[in-house]
């Protein structure tokens, strides 16, 4: 007679195994599947949702015609701006959902981790919001692409604009993670090259998403630099703007932040936004007023009721890059997809944009401007805008090769 003991043990064990198999869900891969890992909780979520909106808008058009006779589908996962969660989500997308392409993410920390993972899995990974230049620079490889502008490009654009101003003493502050250090470091090295007599008075690095920036700002103002370079990413954008406003910092100390003039960033502050903040962005919905831009803005407003931010712009482009690359490749094979994507040019709201083959970086223009509150809009806009073309601000292919081989 089989005793109850071994029966219980065995059934317990089988229950565990069964449970594991229960979440097994082998589906036939039919459509082209995109796996998106991004931040959908916390302060950065509003930006990622906008990117998704731009992505979906493009997909609506793309799926009318279809790609390789099929529709493009996508699934999303929330990384909560944390690297460990992002990595777990990516593993699940790659191993269980069997996606064809991985897309993400807002946090440069997550993007770097996912980039390493994508390399080991030979999975194409398109970065659409994180900006660290190291992703396509020294840590770049065959399987990672960036459809967004990167910190090296931004730094070069900002440095050339700042060099023209009478600032000598600089303070660099920002979020203590991949993006913050990448943009701070790149900007400083470029600035030193163009204007050797600039002086770094000090640096402060706070934890990502630090809610209370007032103590840091107090110290910075006390040190009396000519300008503050704020290397804040998605999680801290609002905090720095809020702190700047409540300490009335911009009246005494000029401030540069990448992305400050973006619609989504500045809108919540309304007419209370700090004026005179220097900013760089890759896209503004109201400038330049080209026919392509106007068409894109109208389609976006009709669909969602508000104008697009630069995140939506990136989402939109990413979808088109993917669709065109698959069409050009003629198959779902990942290696062919990568070969097709290299050097590919697509139409975007700012004109033709190329995915440079040597480093897998999209060649995007950067707009440098300053915030101003005007009566026509409910929020601060960017004025005195100067556009620097992508070719002007990107590092050369030779520099990239040197950095990767170090």
């Amino acid at each position: 007679m089989r005793s109850p003991g071994s029966v219980i043990r065995f059934s317990l064990f089988s229950a565990v195994v069964f449970f594991l198999l229960l979440i097994c869900n082998t589906r036939e891969a039919k459509a082209i599947k995109i796996g998106i890992v991004d931040t959908y909780s916390g302060p950065a979520a509003v930006f990622c949702k906008d990117a998704l909106k731009g992505f979906e808008l493009a997909l609506k058009e793309i799926n009318k015609e279809g790609v390789l006779g099929e529709k493009i589908e996508f699934v999303t996962r929330d990384d909560k701006f944390k690297v460990d969660l992002g990595l777990t989500m990516a593993k699940e997308l790659v191993m269980r959902e069997d996606v064809d392409v991985l897309v993400g993410t807002m946090s440069s920390g997550v993007a770097m981790a996912l980039s390493q993972y994508a390399k080991t899995q030979k999975m194409p990974f398109l970065v659409w919001l994180s900006k660290s230049g190291r992703i396509t620079g020294e840590k770049g490889h065959r399987y990672v692409f960036m459809t967004t502008e990167n910190t090296t490009m931004v730094a070069k654009a900002a440095a050339s604009a700042l060099a023209g101003k009478p600032f000598k003493k600089y303070w660099i502050a920002g979020d203590d993670y991949e993006f913050g250090h990448a943009i701070g470091g790149a900007l400083w090295s470029h600035l030193k090259k163009i204007k050797p007599d600039v002086e770094l008075v000090g640096e402060s690095w706070w934890k990502v998403g630090e809610p209370d920036l007032i103590p840091y700002i107090t110290n910075i103002i006390a040190a009396d630099p000519d300008v503050l370079i704020s290397c804040t990413g998605g999680a801290s954008m609002h905090n720095i703007m809020k702190a700047a406003k409540s300490t009335e910092m911009t009246k005494k100390l000029p401030l540069w932040i990448h992305g400050a003039t973006d619609y989504l960033v500045i809108k919540p502050l309304g007419k209370e936004a700090p004026e005179g903040v220097l900013s760089t962005v890759p896209y503004l919905y109201y400038y330049p007023e080209s026919p392509q831009n106007k068409a894109f803005v109208k389609a976006f407003e009709d669909a969602y009721g508000s104008p697009p931010s630069f995140m939506a712009f990136h989402g939109y482009n990413t979808a088109n890059f993917i669709a065109e690359a698959f069409r050009k490749a003629g198959s779902k094979d990942k290696e062919k997809f990568i070969d097709a994507l290299e050097g590919l040019q697509i139409e975007t709201p700012v004109g033709k944009v190329e995915m440079r083959a040597c480093d897998h970086q999209a060649v995007l223009p950067i707009i440098f401007g300053v915030t101003d509150v005007v009566p026509q809009y409910d929020f601060a806009i960017s004025i005195n805008n100067v556009i620097l073309s992508g070719d002007d601000v990107m590092p050369s292919c030779l520099e990239i090769e040197k950095a990767r081989n170090k």
Binding site: T218, A223, T247, E248
Partner: protein
């Protein structure tokens, strides 16, 4: 660190730098002080519960977070910040109190006869649930409210710009402390809770329903957490994750102050707030490590905390 501007008198500049440094240090301390008050209000609640029930309320941070979010919603309901803020300040701790009352009556009180560890894990479960409840109700976007008009703007203190609202916090903190002390020292209910903290069985023996004492202590402690959240709301971005950071800090403060000791919570908050402000001044990157080091040093010397704890 401070650069030399070309063409200035060296000596004058050094004097100016010294005054500036002292001024900056002063400004930092001032900033630290306002943070301290929030920490104190929250930690005093935690300490109060710990003293009476012997349970570290891990959900304390979640109630702080709910206080902040509730303050946002109430303020929005009453038309934005100026009038809305004061109403929110009054109502949001009440809301948190009601929530904690429900949790206590429905679930917590059934566990009072159980293992101590199970009570602690129960509060952990509450923290998990409340965290996601906030996400469910308020969504994942950050929220923001501004200080009321009369408390907006900044003043010059020690040569640095300092928000008026933070000065308000520095005033409110001790008021809460005094209020709590008055409650435990003078009111009947307060005295009973103090007695229960020292000897629960004796209180039971003289016929007072210990269950209700626990209930009262828990709710009062949670109201304090909610109050802390409502007060901090205009100064920070109200986001998910607020619970994790504050509970860690409150735990440490309560540990160095002496478990269950309100004055200890005040002392602990001062140490914590100042060491962090000091850290921002000295080594901004490792600013948050400074309080932890202070905690370790104190605990090495006095492992049960600086002041007497409820045994």
């Amino acid at each position: 660190m401070n650069g030399n501007a070309a063409g200035c008198d060296e000596e004058d500049k050094t004097m100016e730098n010294a005054a500036l440094d002292l001024g900056t240090l002063g400004a930092n301390c001032f900033v630290g002080l306002s943070r301290t008050m929030i920490l104190f209000i929250v930690s005093s609640g935690l300490s109060f519960i710990l003293g009476v029930m012997r349970v570290p309320n891990i959900a304390h941070g979640s109630l702080y977070m709910i206080g902040a979010f509730a303050a946002y919603s109430i303020a929005e309901l009453f038309g934005g910040s100026t009038v809305g803020f004061w109403i929110a300040l009054a109502l949001s701790p009440v809301f948190v109190g009601v929530l904690s009352l429900i949790a206590e009556r429905v679930m917590f009180r059934r566990l009072y006869q159980r293992e101590h560890l199970e009570l602690i894990l129960f509060t952990f479960a509450l923290m998990l649930i409340f965290g996601d409840l906030v996400k469910l109700v308020w969504g994942t976007d950050y929220k923001s409210i501004l200080a009321p008009d009369m408390l907006r703007g900044s003043v010059i203190v020690f040569g640095s710009s300092f928000p008026v609202y933070n000065i308000f916090l520095i005033v409110v903190g001790p008021l809460v402390g005094v209020g709590l002390w008055l409650f435990t020292a003078t009111t009947k209910m307060g005295k009973i809770t103090r007695a229960a903290a020292v000897d629960r069985d004796m209180v039971d023996a003289i016929g007072i329903n210990v269950d209700w004492v626990f209930c009262g202590a828990f709710v009062i402690g949670c109201i304090l957490a909610g109050l802390g959240g409502a007060l901090v709301a205009p100064t920070v971005s109200i986001t998910l994750g607020m619970d994790h950071t504050i509970i860690m800090e409150a735990f440490l403060i309560v540990t160095i102050g002496g478990l269950g000791n309100i004055a200890g919570a005040f002392l602990g908050s001062l140490i914590f707030g100042f060491s962090q402000a000091f850290g921002v001044y000295l080594m901004p990157q490792f600013a948050i490590v400074f309080p932890y080091i202070a905690v370790v040093i104190i605990l090495l010397i006095k492992p049960k905390g600086l002041l007497k704890s409820a045994s």
